[in-house]
């Protein structure tokens, strides 16, 4: 039950894009079409879960053991960068079709602050674990999945709206990003309604 709550909270209540403001760049950048939004969302889901597992291991068995928690930022960003590279290479070899679908999004993910953000939250055990032990691995993975699903959901809804917006008459100064931000604001307003869920 607590695991379901973690997913619901991470996905809807504390949506990473609309409530936590992480991963805004890809949110504004690639969300012109629903299809690309789904691709980006899937790539983020994949890398986020993988990165969470690896950074959790590094945090628990290296940083905490040696008492060098201050190296966290340096270690995590390097791990994520290396991981993204590796995923790209492996995907290219093993599954060219999947690589075609996700490949173009992978380089963008290194600087997606949602990935590093989740890794740091999990590393410090400061995410909303609904009373479960925040320092153990399973709740962390569930939290990563929930967060990534929330990212994907926000991205897909947003892309759907923007597809329709392309045909609308919008004042010159508001065209593009400002209009997109207003839409994101309205979406954030809607997502606030989920706060009653938990």
């Amino acid at each position: 039950m607590a695991y379901i709550l973690i997913i619901i909270t991470a996905m809807l209540v504390n949506n990473i894009v609309l409530a936590q403001f992480l991963g805004i760049c890809p949110f504004l950048g690639v969300s012109g079409k629903v299809k690309t939004a789904v691709g980006m969302g899937a790539a983020v889901l994949f890398v986020m879960v993988l990165a969470t597992i690896v950074t959790w291991l590094v945090q628990t068995y290296i940083l905490n053991k040696l008492g060098i928690q201050f190296m966290q930022t340096v270690a995590f960003i390097l791990i994520i960068a290396a991981l993204v590279q590796m995923v790209e290479i492996i995907l290219k070899k093993i599954s060219p079709s999947l690589y075609q679908a996700l490949g173009i999004f992978l380089p963008l993910i290194t600087t997606n602050c949602a990935i590093l953000g989740v890794a740091i939250l999990v590393g410090n055990g400061t995410y909303n674990s609904m009373g479960l032990d925040a320092t153990s691995l399973l709740p962390a993975i569930v939290f990563a999945i929930g967060t990534a699903l929330g990212f994907m959901l926000a991205l897909v809804i947003f892309a759907g709206i923007r597809e329709h917006m392309a045909k609308l008459p919008i004042p010159e100064g508001m065209k593009g990003v400002p209009a997109a931000l207003v839409v994101a604001g309205i979406l954030a307003l809607a997502f606030m309604g989920f706060s009653g869920l938990v």
């Binding site: 805004i24 760049c25 600087t111």
Partner: protein
């Protein structure tokens, strides 16, 4: 003269967040008040200036292919430095900014300036560029923070000018999006 131009370009003409749309996450996430926005901007400025200086110094020692990872290590180190310093000497602000301090490392402005400017220019020019860009960013964050604070909590820099509740939505998540949207639109209008 060239340096002066280099310095001022970050404020309006090439403002990182308002024109180039870089570093949106902290812009939205930390501007609940003018002070929060300004502190975030200044923390970013520190990292920007330091990493620009170091990268322009070591640019010739780094092979091209490992350029980006090397820059990231330099940037991440300075982020950790400001993180530790703020924990020690500005604990109150550190707590409000929270996660966004370590996340300076993935702020596109920092890596962007390293790659686009510091890796091609001298130390002094890179320093000035970092300072200008950083302060331009800080200014934008402070103004957005001030607007949200005035509308949302009826106060400015922590000073409550009307004893009442403001329009709450402006300090909440949606207010951040609306605020930035209109801010960008207004700047575009006057930048023409």
């Amino acid at each position: 003269m060239n340096n002066w131009k280099n310095f001022t370009k970050g404020f309006i003409k090439e403002n990182p967040v308002l024109i180039m749309l870089l570093g949106c996450c902290p812009t939205l996430g930390t501007t609940t008040s003018a002070i929060n926005g300004l502190s975030m901007g200044l923390a970013t400025t520190f990292v920007l200036v330091c990493s620009n200086i170091v990268i322009s110094l070591i640019k010739n020692l780094i092979p091209d292919k490992v350029r980006i990872p090397s820059y990231i290590v330099v940037i991440a180190s300075f982020v950790t430095v400001i993180d530790l310093l703020m924990q020690a000497y500005l604990p109150g602000i550190y707590e409000t900014l929270g996660l966004f301090i370590p996340l300076i490392v993935v702020n596109c402005i920092v890596l962007g300036r390293a790659e686009a400017f510091a890796s091609k220019n001298g130390v002094w020019a890179s320093c000035v560029d970092g300072l200008g860009m950083g302060l331009g960013y800080a200014l934008a964050l402070m103004i957005l923070g001030a607007v949200r604070e005035i509308l949302g909590s009826l106060s400015i820099f922590g000073w409550q000018f009307i004893q009442a509740d403001g329009i709450l939505v402006f300090v909440l998540a949606p207010g951040a999006f609306f605020g930035l949207a209109y801010f960008i639109a207004v700047v575009r209008r006057f930048n023409k």
